[in-house]
């Protein structure tokens, strides 16, 4: 990377109004976490260096800082993304997912949930939040979700998640109150699947 690249890329594409956009992004995340499976708007207009998406960028700038080690999936480990993170929020980038407060990945490049931190039984809050970019919030395999924040049961169908995701989530749920919290982003929209949410295949439920 040349210095010119650093100047233009790293310093641009963040929040234009950091105080209010960070608040708006957080409120979207809070509402999404309080009502798993519902879709909320993050502030639009972020332009992090590819392949880091606008939604992931908004989540990162709202929540990450020098106190939160960040893990990046293989595809995101370019110099442009690293320089952008360093300039925009100062979060240290770590190679070990188990020591990360936040992990960022695309759906086709997801780490195993077991490679991230699930916290401890006494401090289950010390767990990784995994932010995953999906292709779409509709059109994927139908998944039924239930748990705190959901009245009865509801249905989601995010597109692009690996087939192993549901099994991994089941393993993650079995650790409760430990566990990884998952945030799905698509464009500038967000959906949360906190560890408390139980996921199951719709097809399996119909069979039962």
């Amino acid at each position: 990377m040349t210095m010119a690249q650093f100047d233009t890329q790293a310093v641009s594409g963040g929040f234009t109004d950091p105080v209010f956009e960070a608040q708006a992004a957080f409120r979207a995340l809070m509402d999404a976490s309080a009502r798993p499976g519902t879709i909320h708007d993050l502030p639009a207009g972020l332009a992090p260096p590819a392949p880091l998406g606008a939604g992931s960028g908004a989540v990162m700038l709202a929540l990450c800082d020098p106190d939160t080690p960040v893990w990046l999936a293989e595809a995101l480990r370019g110099e442009a993304v690293s320089a952008w993170i360093a300039f925009q929020c100062g979060a240290p980038i770590v190679g070990d997912g188990a020591s990360a407060a936040f992990a960022f990945a695309a759906a086709n490049d997801m780490p195993a949930l077991s490679a991230l931190s699930a916290g401890t039984q006494e401090y289950p809050d010390r767990a990784t939040t995994l932010v995953v970019e999906v292709e779409a919030f509709e059109g994927g395999e139908e998944i039924m979700i239930e748990g705190p924040g959901i009245l009865g049961r509801s249905r989601i169908a995010p597109m692009g998640l690996p087939h192993s995701f549901l099994n991994e989530r089941a393993g993650n749920r079995a650790l409760f109150p430990r566990g990884v919290d998952v945030v799905l982003v698509c464009g500038s929209r967000v959906m949360a699947l906190p560890r408390s949410t139980v996921l199951s295949r719709k097809s399996e439920q119909e069979a039962n």
């Binding site: 105080v19 409120r27 039984q121 809050d125 919290d181």
Partner: protein, 309 residues
Amino acid sequence: MSASTGMSQDLASYNFAYLDEQTKRMIRRAILKAIAIPGYQVPFASREMPMPYGWGTGGVQVTASIIGPDDTLKVIDQGADDTTNAVSIRAFFQKVANVAVTTRTRDASIIQTRHRIPEEKLTEGQVLVYQVPIPEPLRFLEPRETETRKMHALEEYGLMHVKLYEDIARHGHIATTYAYPVLVAGRYVMDPSPTPKFDNPKMDMSEALQLFGAGREKRIYAIPPHTKVVSLDFEDHPFEIQHFDEPCALCAAEGVYLDEVILDDRGGRMFVCSDTDHCEERRAAGHRGRLSAEEAYTGREDAIRETAR
């Protein structure tokens, strides 16, 4: 502290919603983890606020971290919007966040509270922020934080049941009426803050998000909407809320929490809604209680005095 005068001097220069961005991020992260683990107390690095701890600095920090320019804030203290504490906190957020404020429960997007849950059913999109003095429900049984943390980790809540059962042995019923412990989402025993147990059923399957902030004890916890909240009890001694023998003396409401008000030094007294907004709305809608005629008379007297001036 002399309420608003003391505050405004400290606020000569401030950030939006008073807290700096790094503090807000830290509290926001704690809130998201609290929502993901309903009833679990997330530690956070509580900041000094321009008000003493007893004033609800935990609730104030939570509100400051979630509030935005589009919010409408209501603040209640013991159910009332007009106590010094409620008025000062409302004025604080008007000043530092320039938000709209209201006393009407249904118009508020964020309600910060001490000691009560509004009578009116909260709805989706509303957030109830509790000011919590002592977040640890096991603290009176076990003073050591390392031990209570272990008990929560192992789901060892036997001591809590023993304590409640001792109540029954001594009083014939569970004597705890405030901060009555609840089990959240079938996992964590949680202190609902010193709300009367009358309000416990309102926490169960609420449509609103409930956030709890304890400033001095540095803890944040949460109950997401549509979450099961069960008051601890025994099969032979089921949980019961307080019942009042008479309706509100001003608006005739039944099935609401009432405060006793002393009227004179001859033992005169009345029971009125603790939720002042609920009571006012009912009276505005034409509901009249036993003493509302007298009150109307006093009101008219005031009006006459105003006109005479």
